[in-house]
């Protein structure tokens, strides 16, 4: 039996009392190395689910990362097992230059700065943005920020990746390259996306989040397209992240 890298049961998030919960009794699991797409219309709770899975929003229910239960005490340690790409990548760039930002996770975990910088540079090269290493993060375009943020999530080679709209705002060659890169990683991946082509190409399962629940698990992208309807079903993967909720849904 393959080890579970991520599992949650009865996960619920409610932002306002008296209103329907954003997430209602969600259950899912990811095996090691498995790639799963999480799709849903705008405001369906995809970002909230990803944030809840690392304990960043108040929630009820049980979450396990690499077999260990997520709690207030275990969260800082377990989060080191997770590479997280935020919906708005700019939000997660915390240091002045690209190379420093990408190396942050490694240096924080005790790596010597030169070795960390070398690994960070190699990760940036995999994403095709090694030439940006010395750039201040504020000089980057949205697509470049996204790649840098992704490099920061990948650099420590965590066993689990939670990616929120990784292709939003990327040009078509960039989307293709990213898809190939993600396909070559050993980490388990939960990818919240509107890009059904990416989901189809990359993921073994597609989960549809609707009405706060993962009610119709294991649907294929074509069934989801049909379910969304012809007029609204075709998502726009090239659109900016700002079209979505822009953060906490």
């Amino acid at each position: 039996m393959t080890a579970e890298v991520l599992a949650c049961r009865d996960l619920s998030v409610s932002w306002e009392p008296g209103r329907p919960p954003t997430l209602d009794g969600v259950a899912l699991s990811l095996a090691a190395g498995e790639r799963v797409a999480l799709v849903g219309l705008n405001g369906s709770g995809k970002t909230t689910l990803l944030m809840a899975l690392v304990g960043l929003v108040p929630h009820r229910g049980e979450i396990r990362i690499c077999g260990e239960r997520l709690s207030r005490r275990s969260a800082p340690r377990l989060r080191r097992q997770v590479g997280f790409l935020f919906n708005v990548p700019e939000d997660q760039l915390l240091l002045p230059t690209v190379i420093e930002d990408v190396a942050l996770g490694l240096v924080r975990d005790g790596a010597a700065p030169p070795a960390a910088a070398e690994r960070a540079l190699a990760t940036l090269a995999r994403l095709g943005v090694a030439h940006l290493a010395a750039e201040p993060v504020h000089h980057l375009s949205h697509g470049q920020k996204l790649r840098v943020a992704l490099a920061g999530a990948l650099v420590a080679e965590p066993p689990l990746l939670l990616l929120d709209e990784p292709t939003a705002g990327l040009d078509p060659p960039g989307r293709g390259a990213l898809s190939e890169l993600l396909a070559g990683l050993d980490a388990a991946q939960l990818i919240a996306t509107h890009d059904l082509e990416l989901a189809e190409r990359l993921c073994s399962r597609v989960l549809l989040l609707e009405g706060g629940t993962l009610g119709r698990d294991e649907l294929g992208p074509s069934a989801i397209r049909t379910s969304w309807g012809a007029d609204r079903g075709r998502p726009e993967p090239a659109a900016g992240a700002g079209l979505d909720s822009g953060g906490l849904e």
Binding site: L95, R108, V137, H138
Partner: protein, 251 residues
């Protein structure tokens, strides 16, 4: 005249930029303190402040556009304090104009001069230099991390503000004056929730990425050279002279 926040940092080309980053920061602190401590009521004190600002501009050589912008912004912010003089005079029976002007003048002079020194100093330090400087100086790591993050996020915040303002301008352009006023008055209500939401997301990212994780990892600071030590000594001597001038003036 618009100056981008992130282009201010490290934009200067003066001789001071050749000093080690911590020395630049120490010299800046001395110049800043000199402007604050010089006796604003005496001619000598005003001359000292003017000299410090002029010297500091020459040593830092920030871009002209920035220097001009800083000077004008400083005047716009601090000259209105002088308008308090008539109110102060009315409160003090028998008081002359010089007495009434003393406090507003001191605020205006100190505010304007420290602002010039602060902005010119920022122009000598790139964010990386600032981090090196804070690492080398006896500043608690957490304080340094928070300070760096404030500077880093200010750029993001200003970019966000510009985007909101641009959207408001574009959307109000089609309407008349009333429509523009309505849009303008809605700016705080649009801006605040967006900034608050961004702050929440950044806080979540910091928590997730373990920033600063108790302490920001140390960076490789360059060794100090002879001219760094000389500059530090001169800056401290200058500050000591200003303190002496103040004490002598008070005596």
């Amino acid at each position: 005249m618009r100056v981008e926040w992130h282009t201010v940092w490290g934009s200067a080309r003066g001789p001071l930029t050749r000093l080690a980053p911590p020395v630049r920061l120490v010299c800046a602190a001395c110049a800043f303190a000199a402007c604050l401590l010089a006796p604003a009521a005496s001619g000598g004190g005003v001359a000292v402040v003017a000299l410090v600002v002029l010297l500091w501009w020459l040593l830092c050589r920030p871009p002209r556009r920035l220097a001009r912008g800083a000077a004008l912004l400083g005047l716009a912010l601090f000259v209105p304090y002088l308008a308090l003089a008539p109110l102060i005079r009315a409160e003090v029976p028998g008081g002359g104009w010089s007495d009434a002007l003393a406090a507003p003048w001191a605020v205006a002079l100190r505010g304007w001069s420290t602002m010039q020194v602060g902005i010119a100093s920022a122009a000598t330090l790139s964010p990386v230099d600032l981090r090196l400087a804070l690492d080398r100086l006896p500043v608690p790591r957490v304080v340094a991390a928070v300070l760096l993050q404030i500077i880093h996020q200010t750029a993001t915040l200003m970019a966000e503000t510009r985007r909101i303002a641009a959207a408001l301008v574009v959307r109000a352009a089609a309407g008349g004056t009333r429509s523009r006023l309505r849009v303008l008055s809605s700016l705080p209500r649009v801006w605040l929730p967006r900034v608050a939401a961004r702050a929440e997301r950044v806080a979540a990212a910091m928590e997730l990425r373990g920033y600063p994780g108790g302490a920001l990892p140390p960076s490789a600071a360059p060794a100090l050279r002879a001219h760094d030590l000389l500059a530090t000594a001169l800056a401290m001597a200058g500050l000591a002279a200003v303190i002496a001038l103040r004490l002598l003036g008070a005596a």
